[in-house]
């Protein structure tokens, strides 16, 4: 009878780490030990029967929901200040305060001659931004930094004015006029 022999030897070629089987025993032992400890802690929790809370005697038998007194008959109270009126009054007051505030807190700047810096005005004229004839210019004079007009000269003595021009103005054209 032909021997039924497999065409390869018995060694499958697998290997294990050194000391594997020695360590395996320890690992299994530790695993079982931990499982025991785990079961023990489970038992610790299982030992606790209930939360320990209790209620006064007959609490549930006598328990009833107490509704607030709002359901009982009470005299109707008419409010002195109705909510709607208060809202209207508050709205009007708010608008007035807002308007007054905007006027008094941030007044709009008013342009006056006093607010204009003199040097800025002079530069503006020097840069020929105003197309005025010499006659027109003579209508405006500056005296110690204050703008004066023709009308300011009505009461000025004409002789005194001629003396002033004679001494201070070099351009004879002004004197002739």
């Amino acid at each position: 009878m032909k021997e039924n022999k497999l065409p390869y030897n018995n060694d499958p070629g697998f290997t294990v780490p050194s000391n594997y089987f020695e360590e395996l025993e320890k690992d299994i032992f530790n695993m079982v030990k931990n499982a025991d400890a785990h079961n023990e802690s489970d038992k610790t929790l299982e030992k606790v029967q209930g939360s320990g809370f209790k209620t006064p005697d007959g609490y549930f038998e006598s328990f009833e929901v107490k509704f607030p007194a709002e359901n009982s008959q009470q005299p109707k109270v008419i409010p002195l200040f109705k909510k709607e009126y208060m809202l209207y009054a508050a709205s009007i007051a708010a608008i007035i305060i807002a308007l007054a505030g905007s006027l008094y807190i941030n007044p709009a700047p008013v342009d006056t001659w006093e607010n204009i810096e003199l040097s800025v005005l002079e530069n503006y004229i020097d840069d020929n931004n105003i197309d005025l004839s010499t006659t027109e210019i003579s209508g405006f004079l500056f005296n110690d930094g204050i703008l004066v007009e023709d009308s300011d000269f009505k009461e000025v003595n004409s002789e005194a004015m001629l003396d002033y021009l004679d001494e201070n103005v070099e351009d004879p054209a002004f004197i002739i006029e």
């Binding site: 802690s41 489970d42 610790t44 929790l45 030992k47 606790v48 029967q49 209930g50 939360s51 320990g52 809370f53 209790k54 209620t55 006064p56 549930f60 328990f63 009833e64 929901v65 107490k66 509704f67 607030p68």
Partner: protein
Amino acid sequence: MGIQLKSNPLGNSEDLLIQRLKDEVSAEAAFKELVSLYKERLYWHIRNMVKDHDDTHDVLQNTFLKIYRNINKFKGESQLFSWMYRIATNEAITFINKKAKRLQINSQELQDHLISSLESDVYFEGDEIQLKLQRAIASLPAKQQQVFNMKYFEELKYREIAEILETSEGALKASYHIAVKKIEEHLKNN
């Protein structure tokens, strides 16, 4: 805590009770029935959260008042019991937050305060290990406390807890598992 209470004792008759609650003629009698059926369940649900009996009584009163006043707003999208549990949970959380604010302490300090008060509470008859367990629960985050109490003490099903807390069963299982591990750790170390 006494005998195990079914979370939903009404079963199929729930729809009928809701109809009666919404009908002005039968509302009062139906509400009495509802209170009778759920007072103990909701009491223990609240008690596990707020710990003190008198506080629990106040929260339970408010819970039933809200149920009565809002029953017409109940659309039936969830079961009545889970809707009521949800109101009770919200009322208890609101109460706890207000208490912490009144005592000017944070939520963890309040948990410590509640547990310390248990030792002198005439309505707490727990032994040393039950007090330890309460301390361990108090050390958990709020959500894990809720899940642990509902599963361990109230013995609600994951499906029911999921409906009450509007979360997935998977998340609840994970939460409960973590809570149990932490409590075991706490019990072993203390």
